[in-house]
Amino acid sequence: MQISNTQTLISLREGRSVRGTGRFVVALMRTSVAAAMAHRGTFLMQSLLMALNNAIYFTFWVVLLRRVTTIRGYGITDVVVLYGTVAGGVGLAVLLAGGFRQLARAIHEGELDAVLSQPKPTLLYVLGRRAGASGLGDVVFGCVMIAIWGHVRLSTLPIVALAMIASAIVMVSSAVLFSSLAFWLGPVEAASRQLFESVIMFSIYPEPLFGGALRLVLFTLVPAGFVGYVPARLIQSPSIGGALEMIAVASAYAVVAAWVFAHGLRTYCGGSRFELVG
């Protein structure tokens, strides 16, 4: 009986089509965003406060760059685009794949039990089932910053969207990679959160500040370069080559993250949890 159930699961998983998974992802995101918006007042307040939060932090750059004009070639307009790109990316990640924030804990505490028996990919389920309301505030703030920059034309809008989506994919992929360490190392929630925050932190500071070995790290293990600098450069100088490069990088990070998660899942020991999934 047990074997036949497992076989059914395997055949269901093998039988899923790319289109079916795509439909599932869209439905999951829609449901989870709708759930976050169920308390409309709280949702709007959190979005507004997040946008305000970003604006307050940005005053640091305004004050600093009023005094020194540029930092190794980075002026206020460059920082506006960089900050807008990263805020947009963070917002999309939190809004559409907010589950990454609890992934390390979910792995360590056996919370994956409830989604393992679902017929769709476990990782997509875990990422997409918790939308963060504050993400909308980040997205709006990011778009406002790019608008303030003032060089976006209608024809380059798709490039801006692509840059933000790619930034979000690299961000979520790095969070999945850090959180997947929990499969082998156990309680790594704090460490994975700090690693993720360091990706965000490095990505909002001007690229020329970092050189040598650190620069290599920022384009590999802590991919701040692909979360901030490269997408921001794409927005400032749109090109087909740059767009293709960004798509390739985001896809590569997503594939590696999914592969590592899948391998970790083989070592996963459940927590015997009973939970309603819907």
């Binding site: 939060n53 020194v68 959160r193 360091s198 500071y205 500040l209």
Partner: protein, 260 residues
């Protein structure tokens, strides 16, 4: 009576102390993050070069002190929020201890583990990224007042946590508190860097006493004299203690009404 009081709350402090020691992972992550921040900002200040009143080295030392205070103060507010959400608060307030006092004591226990480790990180990081230490008397002043500031900040965190009785989710309020402390407290840049009106507004808030007050001793022009910073900290501690007490009393009454 006093001995009993000390024993009672001392026990909570010991729980906080032991719990923090039992989870070195979070402390290690904070240390790594602290190094990272100092590394990033030392690069930034080197790129910016010398400014009107401070060298890049003194700016790194300034940041080391402000971040030491900020990263040492436990995030007890989120524990209170979780207790309110789970309903654990219902049996905790029935204990023969003050709910607020117990949380402050437990957080101070955590602070007792965290602050020395973070201070060592600040000094090692500062030495590594900025160079020689400021004069011993300057460091002593900044550390003494910074330690008091961390205790006052912890009490503010407890007060923020109490808002969960009404708001449920206190994260958005905390974000605003955190970012206001960045600007009005002068976390990254001393208040003198901001337009004058920011300084005037900040003077009516606890933030300068908590961050720039202790840290600015490493600069040429401190925010205030040590006695003045001490006085400000005492004033804001009294304010938050009274405020937290009143807020909790009101919250407990509401909770009893809800409970029937």
């Amino acid at each position: 009576m006093n001995t009993r009081w000390i024993r009672k709350y001392g026990a909570f402090a010991r729980i906080g102390f032991a719990a923090t020691q039992a989870g070195p992972g979070e402390l290690a992550a904070r240390v790594a993050f602290f190094f990272l921040i100092l590394g990033v900002f030392s690069s930034l200040w080197r790129a910016v070069g010398h400014s009107d009143s401070a060298t890049s080295a003194t700016m790194v030392w300034y940041l080391a002190i402000t971040e030491w205070v900020l990263l040492s103060a436990p995030m007890i507010q989120f524990e209170i929020e979780a207790e309110v959400r789970r309903g654990d608060v219902a049996y905790q307030i029935a204990r023969p201890v003050s709910y607020v006092g117990a949380h402050v004591a437990r957080a101070i226990g955590t602070l007792a583990v965290r602050a020395p480790v973070m201070l060592a990180t600040a000094i090692i990081g500062g030495r590594l990224f900025a160079g020689p230490l400021p004069p011993a008397a300057t460091i002593a002043r900044a550390v003494a007042l910074g330690a008091v500031a961390a205790v006052v900040m912890t009490t503010y965190h407890v007060a923020l946590g109490l808002l969960a009785f009404w708001l449920g989710d206190i994260a958005p309020v905390y974000w605003i508190w955190q970012k206001l402390s960045f600007v009005l407290g002068g976390l990254l840049l001393p208040l003198t860097y901001y337009p004058a009106f920011v300084g005037r507004v900040a003077a009516f808030t606890p933030f300068p006493a908590l961050l720039t007050g202790p840290a600015s001793f490493v600069l040429d022009r401190p925010y205030a004299t040590p006695m003045a910073v001490c006085g400000m900290l005492a004033l804001w501690l009294a304010m938050v203690s009274i405020g937290a007490g009143l807020v909790f009393r009101h919250a407990a009454r509401t909770l009893q009404l809800n409970g029937g």
